[in-house]
């Protein structure tokens, strides 16, 4: 597409006088001016708001159907609860895997959404849906309003982010912070006026992203490369770089200080251990294979879940649009940023041994922006005098039609990811039966000690700490040694143990822990909960509550 090299020269956004006038104004005044500006902008703002509402409703439709969540979700909710007591632990264990921004976010949402569980779910939906605003802003900034609207519309119904915002997870907040960081960075990059406030805001958003998930570091790395380039080109000084870095690292720094206090080292993370000791047996696909699959936005087997490979139409529109931005000189440098954003937050995940299409969550925004740049035909200016307004109607119709088509045709993939990734949790590690059993215990066990093989889920539903039977997820130490189950439990004052199985046999849950059925003679079965499958993705699951004999 080099033929378009000279088709579009870079255009200033406004006459130079106006820009200089803008330079002198503070951002707040400029925002107020923008809001007060008469004319065509309000319909666009209303359109974006409607897209945001649609995104929330669409995602909430899926979130409402999710009854059981991932282990991570229970950690996040447990951490959100413990943060209220200025603690950062789950089940009595000081935590060192998930970072605190999302638990903080849950508490903030909980200020106006009642119920921790609902707030956590709604929080993810809200944060994910809110991405449409910076996406629209970036699209408008780089291309034009039509492109921004198209990108926002596409994101609103995008399958990966829709399906994975149905459970309390930090992906939505991460994507939002990265999109905000990208917006501020591009704003600074585009407005060559020597003011660094947007750059620092970008650093702040990136820093918060790093304090949300480790992938935030990839964003900072991406921006870092660009900053080094601009530093080399003389557009910013070392001082600016330093300030950016300090701002970006403050949130993580605070977390590191907490680690230092609690663990004696600032860089303690379960991820480090997990990466070092990951079971090679699961790594059926090498890094290059993972890179390829992520490039296609396909799920990564064997741990992936989606069967979709090329019916993800967002991909072809997104990649074609990004190619277009690279081909047109006027858009090229922003195109490079969008492509780098996509690759850093998407395919670059190949470095992590564990694979899931969910990891592509923060890479969806640049993909939709690329698609928006294509279907918005942003270089066509609509002016009453020169072009007539009818052309604007057709261009908008084209945007609405293509966005509509991609939204509708994305539905099977959304369902597929949702069913295989989220609904399938209903029989996982006790699933619905375990939830019911734990809620029963919460109401009936008083303060009696509880131990479980269900992980952090038990502590969440009990609303207090439950002991871990055996290690959990390779990083949580065992409170109760499996080989010494009853004596250990007795010594900790545990009265009930909660186990699970897929078979209706009290010996089955013990066998999952490699314990023989002879142990049954020393345990008293309190009750068993059964959750029949409500769909094709699950089977019947059982949760067992046993009473431990007094020591």
């Amino acid at each position: 597409m080099d033929m378009t090299e000279d088709l579009l020269e870079r255009e200033p956004d406004a006459p130079s006088e106006e820009r200089c006038a803008g330079c002198r104004l503070s951002p707040w005044i400029r925002i107020k001016t923008a809001i007060a500006a008469p004319g065509i902008k309000w319909p666009w703002a209303i359109a974006v708001f409607l897209i945001f509402v649609a995104a929330v409703l669409w995602r909430w439709h899926f979130a409402r159907g999710a009854k059981i969540y991932t282990y991570d979700s229970y950690y996040y909710m447990g951490l959100a609860r413990s943060l209220r007591h200025f603690d950062y632990s789950v089940a009595g264990h000081q935590h060192f895997k998930f970072m605190p921004m999302y638990p903080i976010g849950i508490n903030l949402v909980n200020l106006f959404v009642p119920g921790l569980e609902t707030a956590a779910k709604f929080g993810n939906v809200l944060f994910t849906s809110a991405c449409v605003i910076p996406i629209y802003a970036i699209g408008t900034l780089l291309f034009d309003r039509r492109a921004g609207l198209a990108a926002a519309g596409l994101f609103a119904f995008e399958p990966i982010t829709t399906a994975w915002s149905a459970v309390p997870m930090s992906d939505g907040l991460l994507a939002l912070l990265i999109a905000l960081g990208a917006f501020f960075f591009l704003k600074w990059m585009k407005e060559d006026n020597g003011r660094f406030v947007y750059l620092y805001l970008s650093g702040a958003a990136g820093g918060l992203a790093l304090a949300t998930r480790w992938e935030g570091a990839l964003f900072l790395l991406l921006v870092g490369f660009f900053l080094l380039y601009f530093w080399w080109k003389g557009r910013l000084r070392f001082r600016n770089l330093l300030i950016f870095s300090v701002i970006a690292l403050v949130p993580f720094g605070l977390y590191a200080i907490r680690n230092l206090v609690v663990f004696g080292t600032p860089f303690k993370s379960a991820y480090l251990e997990e990466f070092r000791n990951h079971p090679k047996v699961f790594e059926q696909m090498g890094p290059l294979g993972r890179f390829g699959r992520y490039l296609m936005f396909s799920d990564v087997r064997p741990l992936g879940i989606s069967k979709h490979y090329y019916h993800y139409a967002y991909l072809i529109f997104g990649y074609a649009g990004l190619a277009l931005t690279l081909a047109i000189k006027r858009y090229r440098r922003y195109g490079i940023f969008l492509v780098a954003w996509l690759f850093f937050l998407g395919p670059l995940h190949f470095i992590w041994w564990f694979g899931s299409v969910r990891f592509l969550f923060p890479a969806v925004a640049p993909l939709t922006l690329g698609a928006g740049a294509l279907i918005g035909l942003p270089w066509i200016k609509v002016e009453r005098e020169r072009t007539g307004l009818a052309i604007g109607v057709f261009l908008l119709a084209l945007v609405v039609a293509v966005v509509g088509v991609l939204a509708v045709t994305g539905r099977p993939m959304t369902n597929d990811i949702y069913n295989n990734g989220i609904i399938s949790l209903e029989d996982d590690v006790g699933g619905l039966a375990a939830r019911d059993a734990l809620l029963w215990l919460k109401d009936n066990a008083g303060d009696a000690g509880v131990a479980t093989s269900l992980g952090p889920m038990a502590s969440f539903y009990l609303n207090r700490d439950a002991y871990f039977i055996g290690e959990w997820q390779g990083f949580e130490p065992a409170d109760i040694n499996i080989d010494n189950l009853i004596p250990d439990a007795q010594s900790l004052g545990v009265r009930y143990i909660v186990l699970w199985s897929w078979e209706n046999d009290p010996a089955a849950p013990l066998s999952y822990l490699n314990l023989g059925p002879e142990l049954l003679s020393r345990l008293k079965l309190v009750s068993v909960w059964e959750a029949p499958p409500s769909n094709e993705f699950n089977r019947t699951v059982y949760a067992w509550i046993f009473e431990i004999p007094e020591g």
Binding site: L7, L374, I380, A390, I391, F394, A401, V402, V405, T409
Partner: protein
């Protein structure tokens, strides 16, 4: 506009052709990797078309007079006329065929040719109408590669539409500028497209006629009227080129029943409202078919969803109007009227015709009037009129693109370069929306991978052969008339026959196998009989047909019958192994004597009473008295005359009509032939003189007493009484399956009602009011093999008895069976007593 292309015409055309070729490669991926050994759409229609185009390519330059006498479906004639003859395709594929001798390469060459030149024709058309190259590319891409066209990849004849836009292009040019060259090219492309596919004759005729009318409405100048006159002459010339190729079709139509499409069949394949929501499963965007879309795929006839992008572009093409500073051709009012508006009308006409006989349950005069006039009677699938919709949308989309590109405006550059970018982006968006990818390729053996037996056959000289065994057939209900072919698995059957036809392109020997748009009686009868192969009866049939070789494929029979077939193939007299080729063995059918017409003892049967004003059904009972089979491969209906003489010997009525000659009468077998007289004289006593006027059975004459009077018949409410008798118990049937004349029954009408026989409809079913003899096979456990029937040779008057030869398909498993014979009134039910016969079906070794 589009100054960006500063290339010479040659370079421009080359670039556009390369672009369309690359698009075709992408949309059909990975066909390009299997262009020599793979096809899209399975072994059915694509292999039929492979056979046709290679037959054309081989024959048209070597034996042009034999073009329609294809080597399949022996002994039928004009077999190429049973489907599209695809002559244009054969001519285009000929160089490829003669150079590579690979039928699959020839076929796939045509696939890519069709896509590339359909797109290119549309490109040139839009360039002519709007001056926009980018609009041309959009139109070309959509017309050539729209979802409907991709869904038709199993029907090459529908994909092959390149000359339709070329025809319109030169018609436009001639109407605008005149010129002999334009007129000649109009005729050439009209004829070329029409000779590619008869559907396109209709499309070309509609498109040309509509344009002629549309232009004529606005014509004021004398010169323009002159040109319109020349177009009429050019159209006549084109038709004169085309008409000779219709003769074999008309010939076949006149002698073969069921050659035209019934309304019921047409309705089945007519477009329905929700077909416009049907998408391709190989579509990148729509492949997972979310609601409200419906699932479709390659081979479907009703994937009519065009996509949203082309609809918006088409709307833009229609609705974006000229502004005062628009001086581009695309905004020219004449171009708009003669281009955009005309193609809108053409698309609407296509839409109305695609709905077939009914629109939302209501009579569709747009389809039915031409159907009644006989113009559409050969069309089975009205949805194929979607091609006209696709062309209309493509051209309107081209207009839309041209207008959007023209209106694209940049504050700095003044517009035109931005316009090109707009056009390119629209092309990209359109392609992405309708893109298909990863289409299933069916690998076909070619060259050295072709089974050795076919190369062996190539060196055999002038021989006839049949590939056996056949795919199992389900019951046909009635076997002694124009029976239907009813494979248990229609796709397996067609695929197997398709393979046989395809492999015949390596030896070109005359063969019984094959399939096409029409199955002649001979083919249906032989395939039904061959279910019993290798029985003595089937070998008699093959011998009578002068079939030299049976190619037996050991992978086709059921595994549990392999041993039985092995024993029978080597023990049945008249069959000898020629050579074994691993999985396939060639057997020779030993030649032998056949019976002639003189060996046939003929008697006529007629009702002793009939009703005035009703057709009269008579019959001939033909008994082969010789020790040899009698075969007639004459398809031509035979003439007879029926005259009625009153008591004084005066002839009061003479009627001439035709009857189907006998095809196969095995030694000792009696068959019945039906004859119908449409008129009878007024009430009274007559002698009906039936005269066969030569032909297969020679000249014969029969006098039959008949009384015409007002008696009730079986079509109306009546008390039906009758009985069935046979003399003795039938002999054991020597082999299972196939067909076998098990006995001759006598039916007697003991009621007061005339039994009508042989009211067959177009689907070979007996209509309500017909009386036939029901046959029910059941084994000791009571399990029924299948319900069958036997026609009664003629109408039966009260008190009359008629002999009924009972031809039946015995069970395919040897054993002792009960065969129940009972009279059956179609539309009402059984009547009379049931006659139980014990019949033994012998195992072959017995």
């Amino acid at each position: 506009m589009d100054e960006w292309f500063r290339w010479s015409k040659k370079k421009e055309y080359l670039a556009v052709l390369v672009f369309f070729f690359l698009a075709a490669v992408l949309f059909t991926w990975p066909l390009i990797l299997h262009v020599h050994d793979g096809i899209i759409g399975g072994h059915g229609d694509p292999l039929l078309n492979t056979w046709i185009v290679n037959w054309d390519a081989r024959t048209v330059f070597t034996h042009p007079t034999q073009l329609f006498q294809g080597n399949i479906m022996y002994p039928s004639r004009d077999v190429l006329a049973y489907s599209e003859h695809l002559l244009t395709l054969g001519v285009i594929a000929a160089p490829m065929y003669f150079v590579t001798r690979n039928p699959i390469i020839s076929y796939n060459f045509l696939v890519f040719f069709a896509f590339v030149f359909s797109a290119f024709g549309c490109y040139l058309l839009i360039k002519e109408l709007t001056g926009s190259r980018l609009g041309g590319v959009v139109a070309g891409i959509f017309f050539a590669l729209c979802p409907y066209k991709i869904s038709q990849l199993s029907h090459l004849q529908m994909v092959f539409s390149p000359f339709l836009p070329f025809m319109l292009l030169y018609l436009y040019r001639f109407l605008k500028r005149g010129g002999k060259r334009n007129a000649i090219l109009f005729v050439v492309f009209f004829a070329a497209q029409s000779l590619a596919n008869w559907h396109y004759l209709i499309y070309c005729a509609i498109a040309a006629a509509l344009l002629w009318i549309w232009v004529a409405i606005f014509t004021r100048q004398k010169n323009d009227w002159k040109r319109l006159g020349w177009v009429v002459i050019a159209g006549i010339v084109a038709m004169l080129i085309i008409i000779p190729f219709t003769i074999p079709y008309l010939r076949a139509h006149s002698r073969l029943p069921g050659f035209e499409r019934s309304i019921q069949e047409v309705e089945l394949y007519a477009a329905k409202g929700d077909d416009y929501e049907r998408v391709l499963d190989v579509s990148v965007v729509y492949g997972d078919t979310p609601s409200p879309f419906k699932a479709g795929g390659i081979g479907y006839e009703n994937v009519l969803y065009p996509g949203v992008v082309i609809l918006i572009l088409a709307l833009a093409g229609l609705l974006l109007r000229r502004r005062k500073d628009d001086d581009l051709m695309v905004f020219d009012s004449v171009s708009f009227r003669e281009g955009a508006v005309y193609f809108l009308i053409l698309g609407v006409v296509g839409l109305l015709l695609a709905y077939g006989p009914k629109i939302a349950g209501h009579y569709n005069p747009f389809y039915m009037i031409p159907y009644r006039l006989g113009l559409l009677k050969f069309i089975r699938v009205p949805t194929r009129f979607f091609v006209l919709i696709a062309l209309g949308l493509a051209v309107l989309g081209g207009y839309g693109t041209a207008k959007l590109a023209a209106r694209s405006y940049s504050s700095r550059n003044g517009g035109w370069r931005i316009g090109q970018l707009t056009g390119l982006a629209i092309i990209a968006i359109l392609i992405l929306e309708i893109l298909t990818f990863n289409i299933t390729i069916h690998l076909i053996p070619t060259g050295r991978d072709v089974p050795e037996v076919y190369n062996w056959l190539r060196g055999r000289g002038d021989v006839r052969m049949i590939e056996l065994p056949t795919e199992p057939l389900a019951g046909a209900d009635i076997y002694d008339r124009d029976l239907r072919l009813n494979p248990v698995n229609i796709l397996d059957f067609l695929y197997r026959e398709g393979d046989s036809m395809y492999f015949s392109t390596y030896h070109w020997k005359t063969m019984v196998n094959g399939y096409s748009g029409y199955s002649p009686f001979f083919y249906r009868r032989i395939m039904t009989e061959m279910q019993g192969f290798p029985s003595q009866r089937t070998i008699d049939l093959l011998r009578g047909l002068n079939v030299d070789y049976v190619l037996w494929d050991w992978s086709w029979p059921e595994k549990n019958r392999l041993e039985e077939y092995d024993m029978r193939l080597f023990s049945t007299p008249g069959l000898s192994l020629v050579q074994d080729f691993g999985g396939k063995s060639v057997f020779r059918v030993e030649p032998g004597a056949v019976a002639t017409a003189e060996d046939i003892q003929l008697s006529a049967v007629a009702p002793s009473a009939a009703r005035p004003g009703q057709p009269l059904h008579l019959g001939l009972l033909a008994n082969n008295t010789s020790d040899n089979p009698m075969i007639s491969i004459e398809e031509e209906p035979q003439d007879f005359s029926l005259s009625f003489m009153d008591a004084s010997g005066n002839t009061v009525l003479v009627e001439k009509d035709t009857y189907r000659p006998p095809f196969f009468i095995d030694r000792g077998e009696t068959i019945s032939l039906s004859l119908t007289g449409d008129k009878v004289p007024p009430p009274g006593a007559y002698t009906a003189r039936l005269q066969l006027e030569g032909g297969v059975l020679g000249p014969r004459s029969f006098d039959l007493p008949i009384e015409i009077g007002d008696i009730p018949d079986s079509k109306g409410p009546a008390a039906m009484r009758g009985n069935v008798t046979v003399i003795g118990q039938p002999l054991p049937i020597p082999a299972p399956d196939g067909l076998y004349p098990v006995t001759t029954a006598t039916v007697t009408n003991i009621g007061d009602t005339l039994w009508l026989s042989l009211l067959q409809d177009e689907s070979y079913n007996l209509r309500a009011g017909s009386v036939h003899l029901s046959l029910k096979w059941s084994d000791a456990s009571g399990a029924i093999w299948e319900d069958q029937g036997c026609t009664i040779p003629c109408d039966v008057a009260p008190g009359q008895s008629i002999d009924v030869p009972v031809l039946t398909r015995p069970p395919n498993v040897p054993g002792d069976y009960s065969l129940d014979l009972r009279l059956f009134l179609d539309g009402t039910g059984y009547f009379g007593e049931t006659l139980h016969l014990n019949v033994q079906v012998l195992a072959p070794r017995e």
